[in-house]
């Protein structure tokens, strides 16, 4: 009895000593580590949800590295999930489903795909980058549907999970759970080091002010390309795990809707932090899970709910946590913040439009270089605008599309 009090006291003292970042990590990973214990009592499905959340958490974390650190909003990130899973699955179907082969194959094929597509995509910014990554993602999707020897549209069922060191140890659900947890933890630590390193600092600087970085000697292209390859390879690990979890891979892994879901997870959790996307993935899955229990029309609720969360919860869940920590959070400030955010957004767009009008009217009166300069300024501003508008549009389009397609599907069935 006394001993347990002492342990609790020690634990409390330890907790006090931790920095905020470390507390967050503890608060995130400790429950995840204890989940299998809870699953013993509450049922094994918890384990499966947990695995899925952690695997998608890895994917979302790699996407956060692109969005939040490198400033590249990729709309084709799910392609890497699929490529990782296909690489391992195809090897498994030929009898080479061992860890030593399948894992490097998954990661390297993703890195290669990222290198090939990234060398083109990374030359663009903003909406163009969104569109080109979307195109490459869909390309991968359609290639997968045409892979007739590996199931084509129907997908590829793996003969078994990957063999680790010649054993079927990954077949044990708890073991697989902890492998996923360890992978997530590893990626979490890796991303933390990466963001703080010289390389990460250059990426953040490029996102902050590209012109300034060029003036001090940093050409954006190689850094952004390297970031894209790293994010792709990391997502390949997630794909490898995802395929293993269900012993199956299908083109649906790469569909643009899945890419959109990953973006939503990042925005929902907060694109500025590392824990944000993991929390985002967990919350997204839990929302999906619980709403599906509540009603079969759950997508109609989830879509608008996510739009509201992303649009008005500045910085996602991580943003809310940050404001709570700084003591800025109350219902009044929250409401005020959301309305100002909406207003500034609107003003930015209006200003852009007014500028466009003024330019159109005055273009003949002015000398050509001045018109050119103001057109360039306008284009720059517009690009800034569309970056954030782009985020909103992505989420909006997604949810609307999903709601409509669900409604149509239900209506057809009747």
């Amino acid at each position: 009895m006394l001993a347990s009090v002492r342990i609790a006291g020690l634990a409390a003292a330890q907790w006090q000593a931790l920095a905020f970042e470390e507390r967050l990590a503890t608060g995130l990973f400790l429950p995840l580590a204890l989940l299998p214990v809870a699953a013993q009592v509450l049922g094994g499905y918890l384990l499966v949800i947990g695995e899925r959340a952690m695997i998608l958490g890895i994917a979302a974390l790699s996407l956060q590295f692109l969005i939040g650190v490198a400033g590249l909003i990729s709309f084709g990130h799910a392609a890497f999930l699929g490529i990782g899973a296909y690489a391992a699955g195809i090897l498994a179907s030929h009898g080479y489903g061992t860890l030593a082969l399948a894992l490097p194959a998954a990661i390297l094929s993703c890195a290669l795909f990222a290198l090939l597509t990234g060398s083109i995509a990374v030359r663009t910014r903003g909406v163009y980058f969104i569109m080109i990554t979307l195109a490459f993602g869909q390309m991968a999707f359609f290639v997968a549907t045409s892979l007739a020897p590996y199931g084509g549209d129907d997908g590829l069922t793996w003969p078994s999970r990957t063999l680790a060191f010649g054993t079927r140890v990954l077949k044990t659900e708890t073991v697989f759970y902890y492998v996923a947890l360890a992978s997530l933890g590893g990626v979490y630590v890796l991303m933390g080091r990466l963001v703080g390193s010289r390389f990460g600092r250059v990426l953040r600087g490029l996102t902050d002010n590209e012109r300034r970085m060029e003036a001090i000697g940093f050409a954006p292209y190689p850094y952004r390309l390297a970031a894209y390859v790293m994010a792709g390879a990391t997502c390949g690990l997630a794909g490898f795990l995802l395929g293993n979890e269900v012993e199956f891979v299908s083109p649906a892994y790469m569909h643009w809707q899945r890419s959109g879901e990953l973006i939503l997870m990042v925005l929902l959790g907060g694109s500025g932090t590392r824990y944000g996307p993991i929390v985002g993935a967990i919350v997204y899955l839990l929302l999906e899970e619980s709403l599906a229990r509540f009603t079969e029309h759950w997508k109609v609720i989830l879509g608008p709910l996510l739009v509201v969360l992303v649009l008005f919860g500045r910085g996602g869940i991580a943003g809310i946590v940050e404001r709570w920590r700084l003591g800025e959070l109350s219902l009044v400030t929250l409401w005020a913040a959301s309305t100002t955010a909406a207003r500034t957004q609107r003003e930015r767009v209006m200003r852009g439009l007014r500028r466009a009008e003024a330019m159109g009217a005055g273009v003949l009166d002015r000398t050509i270089p001045r018109a050119k300069a103001s057109a360039a300024a306008f284009a720059a501003r517009w690009r800034q605008c569309t970056m954030s508008v782009g985020e909103a549009v992505v989420s909006l389009v997604l949810s609307v599309e999903r709601s409509i397609s669900t409604a149509i599907a239900r209506w057809r069935r009747r």
Partner: protein, 249 residues
């Protein structure tokens, strides 16, 4: 004879039908502070952009430190020791003042493809950065976010960033633009401290500042340099008075 750090050889640049830089040649000598003045629309900023590599000239060659850099983009020229500030302030607003400068040191101190060690803890980067901040006199602002600085301090920070690049040529694009009287005074004082230690090209509207700082002045009108000489000689030049300073000067 002192060697020319920067040599512009007949460079031209047009925007559609308008020639903004018209067969312009200019030598900037080692160690001098060379001011470029001219009325609005004379092509000063276009010229600066071509020197720094933000714009490519249509014709002519640009030699920097004995090398033809005409076809090099801005980052490559920065590596050769060409540091610039911008007319409109360009700092990294979400970085600390120290990190803004440390990044400039990092750019010339080994590879930035290092993925593990915390860059913010690299003592030798931070030490060099602090030295540059001390030179412009804002070292006490080092831990503050650059976005939170006053306008004048941001201008000083830009100069500190340029100094941290260990430049062979400092290209200052209207450093006094938008600064108040007190801030201008501080900037002129700071730049005065750099004079002689660095080769400086100064584009500036503030005539008092130009005449206080420059060893030589070039006057740019309609994309052409109409006069180059000591501040006094340029002030007395009839063509300059007619084209630029007006009768009142």
């Amino acid at each position: 004879m002192t060697k020319a750090v920067l040599r512009l050889n007949g460079i031209e640049r047009s925007f559609a039908a308008l020639k903004v830089t018209d067969c312009l040649s200019l030598d900037v000598l080692e160690g001098e502070t060379h001011a470029i003045i001219g009325p609005n629309g004379a092509g000063k900023t276009t010229l600066i952009h071509q020197i720094s590599g933000a714009l490519a000239p249509d014709a002519g060659r640009i030699h920097f430190d004995g090398r033809d850099v005409t076809d090099l983009p801005m980052p490559a020229r920065a590596h050769l020791g060409l540091a610039r500030t911008f007319q409109k302030t360009h700092v990294l607003p979400s970085f600390t003042v120290l990190e803004n400068v440390a990044l400039a040191v990092q750019a010339r101190a080994g590879s930035s493809f290092r993925f593990w060690r915390a860059a913010a803890a690299e003592a030798q980067l931070n030490a060099a950065a602090m030295a540059a901040l001390a030179t412009v006199g804002i070292s006490q602002r080092a831990p503050i976010r650059a976005g939170a600085l006053s306008h004048g301090e941001k201008r000083l920070l830009e100069v500190a960033i340029a100094l941290a690049q260990a430049p062979k040529l400092l290209l200052l694009d209207e450093p006094m633009a938008g600064a108040g009287a007190q801030e201008t005074h501080r900037l002129v004082e700071t730049l005065g401290g750099l004079k002689g230690r660095y080769t400086i090209v100064l584009v500036e509207h503030d005539m008092q500042a130009v005449f206080a700082l420059a060893d030589r002045v070039s006057v740019l009108v309609e994309g052409r340099i109409i006069a180059t000489g000591t501040p006094q000689a340029v002030r007395d030049d009839a063509a300059v008075r007619a084209a630029y300073l007006g009768d009142a000067a």
